[in-house]
């Protein structure tokens, strides 16, 4: 097999069909692959196309090995790893292309086709939008077409015929697929974890907050998550969606404290009614869920609230997920703050920002009371010439808080949250920064929260009250909280279309489309272990046993039905053709009498032979043959009366129909 002189087992047109399908399936990946890899793949396909046409020999094994090693090395050099979605897909596409250079035998074709199915599935790692559904079906249709081709190698079936066959197979499979989808037991993943770059490239909050982090999100109108409230939605100004909390300030950026996730008892006491809602989370690649401030249990599976009151899932959210949550708007949390936590939330880097420290210290000296210090800080923002802008002047590294509070005085929510928390800590009030989203836009029966709704605020800890939310941005730009970003920013700042206050028809259309997508997310993409159990409980099939039973029963039943359908297509012509059926009944009767009809014998020959062998039957046989020939060949539309006569004669054979006229009336 090492010789290079192998030519195709399949006709050139067949190979070219495989190449076409392969190109179609890999085309969406080209945007994700390095350019050299895409060009290499296209080049190999083009060469293979020509090789099939001109029956060129495959390249020698040495060249193939060199190419394969170079491909591996190239991918490793490009991505620095072979483990990861992007590197994995690059590797898969390259290896598939290399396989083409030794594709001559049937099993090679099969391998290429099976790998094409695999390539198709990798698209869904990158997107699960509704538009991927046609990709799924058309891809499966095309690959199945070439699989049919490979199983019909001696002559190429017309493309229309393989298309029809392939479509029929997939259509017959569709009900079964739905049964599998709904009833196949889903287990909470992951089985072995994700590659490092899973969920990469999605926008969203990050696990640190430095100036500019949130204002960059404000340029995106991507959906962060969708919310469906069971009752009426709370007013917009109360919609604080709680994300990562930062307790450690390094002088420039806010980071999660080293101890933030260490478990400790946290008390939350409820005041006011609970709000039930469902969040359809878009993947963001982190663990945190973004509940309404402040969530209380019961928690969904694998979800828990940490001591920093952040709700996290055990694994990163890299696929769309659905969460059932409950929150309260009025609460007291963490009223008994342990000393270590209190100290952690007072910590500031030494020496920097002396003016801010001095200001905070003066407030502490003059006002004394925590509440009055908070008011002093807020009125500073409200009454001095602070402005709310997406394009703040750049802050220098050494004294950023001083610079912001006393000179530039223009910033976005992260500047206000950061400097406010700094002021509080300097005034000996425990404070921390909370990031998340603020606001939501109603669309139909649900609300959309977009990336430009990203927000940062602060929490201060007051004795007897616990953590209290203070949003310094509201002091500067009340409109941000009441109306959203578009209402708060001065005109002239660049904003995504959906954030603007004035809307046009196109935007309404986009909102309609979002409604369709929300349904897709809710019913298809979010279908997992939890939704499955709820659904099965609702239709009265709780428990794994009932699930497996109904899955088995459904599968067997559907396969039976499909089997009957498929066999109907192949049913003998006679079963559809009553005339032929009668004739075959007649032939069977002859067979029983020891007169075999020969395959090459027509009705006329048969009747002659039977009449010769059994002269006593001649008068019965000849009219049957005559009637049959007339019915069959004389006219397009057989005469029902003639047919009745044929039928009567065949049934009575070898007797003549008029031998016992009493038994059968002439009406037959």
């Amino acid at each position: 097999m090492s010789t290079a002189v192998m030519t195709d087992h399949l006709p050139a047109a067949n190979v070219q069909r495989i190449l076409t399908v392969l190109m179609l399936i890999s085309a969406p990946h080209f945007a994700r692959l390095p350019l050299w890899a895409s060009l290499l793949v296209i080049g190999i396909c083009a060469w293979r196309w020509q090789a099939a046409q001109r029956t060129w020999a495959m390249p020698p094994r040495l060249l193939r090995s060199v190419l394969a090693i170079a491909g591996f090395a190239g991918v490793y050099a490009q991505f620095g790893t072979l483990n990861g979605h992007y590197a994995g897909v690059a590797l898969l596409v390259l290896m598939l292309a290399m396989k083409l250079t030794e594709m001559t035998r049937r099993r090679d074709y099969l391998l290429v086709i099976y790998l094409s199915y695999f390539l198709l599935i990798t698209h869904f790692l990158f997107s699960q939008e509704m538009l991927m559904l046609p990709v799924l079906f058309l891809g499966a249709l095309a690959i199945t077409m070439v699989l049919i081709d490979v199983n019909h190698p001696h002559s190429l079936l017309p493309a229309r015929q393989t298309l029809r066959l392939s479509a029929r197979l997939l259509l017959q499979a569709l009900p079964l697929m739905l049964v599998f989808f709904v009833l196949f037991p889903r287990i909470p993943g992951p089985l072995w974890g994700f590659p490092s770059d899973a969920g990469a490239g999605v926008t969203g909050l990050s696990d640190s907050m430095e100036p500019g982090a949130i204002s960059s999100l404000s340029q995106s109108d991507a959906v962060a998550f969708r919310v469906r409230f069971s009752g009426p939605a709370p007013p917009r100004r109360d919609l604080y969606w709680r994300g990562p909390v930062f307790e450690y300030f390094n002088g420039r950026a806010w980071l999660p404290g080293a101890w933030a996730e260490v478990p400790r008892p946290v008390t939350v006491s409820q005041q006011g009614p609970a709000i039930d809602y469902e969040i359809q989370m878009e993947p963001h690649g982190h663990k945190w869920v973004l509940p309404l401030d402040l969530p209380i249990g019961p928690w969904p599976a694998d979800v828990a609230m940490g001591p920093d009151l952040v709700v996290r899932q055990r694994r990163n959210i890299i696929e769309k997920q659905l969460f059932q949550l409950r929150s309260i708007l009025d609460y007291q949390a963490d009223v008994k703050l342990p000393l270590s936590v209190r100290q952690r939330n007072l910590l500031l880097p030494a020496l920097a920002n002396p003016r801010t420290r001095a200001l905070a210290q003066s407030w502490r000296d003059q006002l004394g009371d925590d509440r009055r210090i908070i008011q002093a800080a807020l009125s500073l923002f409200r009454n001095e010439a602070f402005s709310y802008t997406l394009r703040p002047p750049r802050l220098l590294d050494d004294q950023p808080i001083d610079q912001f509070l006393f000179s530039t005085r223009a910033g976005f929510c992260e500047h206000y949250a950061s400097s406010f928390a700094y002021l509080m800590r300097a005034a000996d009030i425990p404070a921390r920064v909370v990031t998340g989203y603020q606001g939501a836009e109603a669309n139909g029966d649900y609300h959309i929260v977009r990336q430009f709704d990203a927000h940062a605020w602060t929490e201060v800890w007051l004795p007897g009250e616990g953590w209290v939310r203070v949003d310094p941005t509201a002091a500067v730009a009340t409109e941000r909280i009441e109306l959203g970003l578009g209402g708060a920013l001065p005109s002239g700042e660049s904003l995504p279309a959906l954030a603007r206050m004035n809307r046009d028809a196109l935007i309404n259309l986009r909102l309609r489309w979002d409604q369709v997508n929300a349904l897709w997310n809710r019913w298809v993409l979010a279908y997992g272990p939890e939704l499955q159990q709820r659904f099965l409980g609702a239709i009265g099939l709780p428990g794994l046993r009932a699930l497996l039973l109904s899955l088995t029963f459904g599968t067997v039943l559907l396969l039976l039905i499909i089997g009957i359908m498929v066999n109907r297509g192949h049913r003998a012509l006679a079963q559809r053709d009553p005339i032929l059926k009668e004739w075959q009944r007649f032939v069977r009767k002859l067979n029983k009498a020891g007169l075999q009809a020969l395959p090459q014998e027509g009705p006329r020959d048969l009747s002659r032979r039977v009449s010769a062998d059994r002269p006593e039957w001649a008068s019965a046989v000849e009219p049957i043959a005559r009637l049959y020939i007339r019915l069959r060949y004389a006219s397009q539309k057989p005469d029902p009366q003639l047919f009745a006569r044929l039928r009567q004669r065949v049934r009575r054979f070898p007797k003549l129909p008029n031998e016992s006229p009493t038994s059968h009336p002439a009406a037959r």
Binding site: F118, Q128, H152, P175
Partner: protein, 324 residues
């Protein structure tokens, strides 16, 4: 492994017990139509498993959807080869005789009385080694010709062994097949000897005569018509009485004919070697257009020549039972 072999043996025995040889043509019935996954089918299942694990790991519902679509397709595809085969009529025509050591080609005729076209029909002795290259299609209401190869055998008369008619169409994941045991037979002529032994001379008391002059002088007796006999040698007068064609034969002086005689090959002790030699001579005589007769133990074929005569003689060689 042992268990597997035992199981497959038991299965084979069970299959054999179900199949009493039938005269062709036969129709493939439901109870005789088996189905198992192919090697490619197992490969496909392995791929589906990998896809399923991936979908579970990433909790990716579109990946689940594709996996389930393909799994459902492969299950549905189980029905298709079955239906593709069911109700197909298989006819085995006359199997052309061959010389020992040559492969035998069995001609098949498929008749599709069904309302749907049938694709990629395969036939062969071992169902695991059916070549897709010899696959044929059979459209609805039509017939199609195919053939398959039997391994070379020694001289003799053989019953057509049980063979499989199968199909893997459309996806190649499942093979549906039926075992056919038919009453058809085929002949294997002796292998023509390769030695340079000359054809025995025409023994004649009156000198050597050219063999082209067949004795047509002295009417001897009537024998049954055999295909290839000259029309003018048919004895038409006896036809109305007997209802069968008879051919006049003429006494020919024994010593004037070329006789290929088993008994004269005494120096060859192996009977098969004798038959090989006779076979070679028959072929040589035909090539040289010489009439010849054949004497075997208990058989004597009067000298003649032509295709029918040659076939007749070779058939006698094939059918001769030796060693008894």
């Amino acid at each position: 492994m042992n268990l597997r072999i035992r199981l497959s043996e038991r299965f084979e025995n069970w299959v054999v017990s179900r199949h009493v040889p039938q005269p062709p043509p036969v129709s493939i019935r439901r109870g005789r139509c088996y189905i198992l996954p192919t090697r490619a089918g197992y490969m496909f299942a392995l791929m589906l498993l990998a896809m399923l694990l991936g979908a579970m790991n990433y909790n990716n519902n579109l990946a689940f959807a594709l996996t389930f679509l393909l799994a459902a397709t492969s299950l549905v595809a189980m029905h298709h080869p079955h239906a593709n085969l069911l109700g197909l009529t298989v006819h085995v025509g006359h199997i052309p005789a061959v010389f020992a050591g040559e492969p035998v080609w069995v001609p098949l005729q498929y008749t599709n009385a069904g309302s749907a076209d049938r694709f990629s029909l395969l036939a062969g002795l071992k169902r695991s080694r059916l070549s897709l290259d010899l696959a044929v299609d059979c459209a609805s209401g039509e017939t199609a010709q195919s053939r398959f190869e039997l391994p070379a055998r020694e001289r003799g008369v053989y019953r057509l062994p049980r063979f499989a008619v199968a199909t893997e169409f459309p996806l190649g994941l499942f093979q549906s097949w039926s075992w056919l045991s038919l009453t058809s037979e085929y002949l294997v002529y002796p292998r023509p000897a390769t030695g340079q032994r000359p054809i025995p001379p025409v023994a004649s008391q009156h000198g050597t005569r050219s063999g082209q002059q067949e004795g047509r002088d002295d009417f001897s007796h009537l024998r049954d018509y055999r295909p290839g006999d000259a029309l003018r040698s048919i004895h038409w007068k006896s036809f109305p009485h007997s209802g069968r064609l008879a051919v006049k034969t003429f006494a020919e002086p024994m010593d004037e004919a070329l006789w290929l005689d088993w008994h004269q090959l005494t120096d060859l002790h192996d009977p098969e070697a004798r038959l090989s030699q006779l076979c070679r001579w028959i072929l040589d005589c035909e090539a040289g257009q010489k009439p010849y007769g054949l004497r075997l133990p208990g058989v004597e074929i009067a000298p003649a020549r032509g295709h029918a005569h040659r076939t007749d003689c070779l058939e006698r060689l094939a059918r001769l039972k030796v060693g008894s």
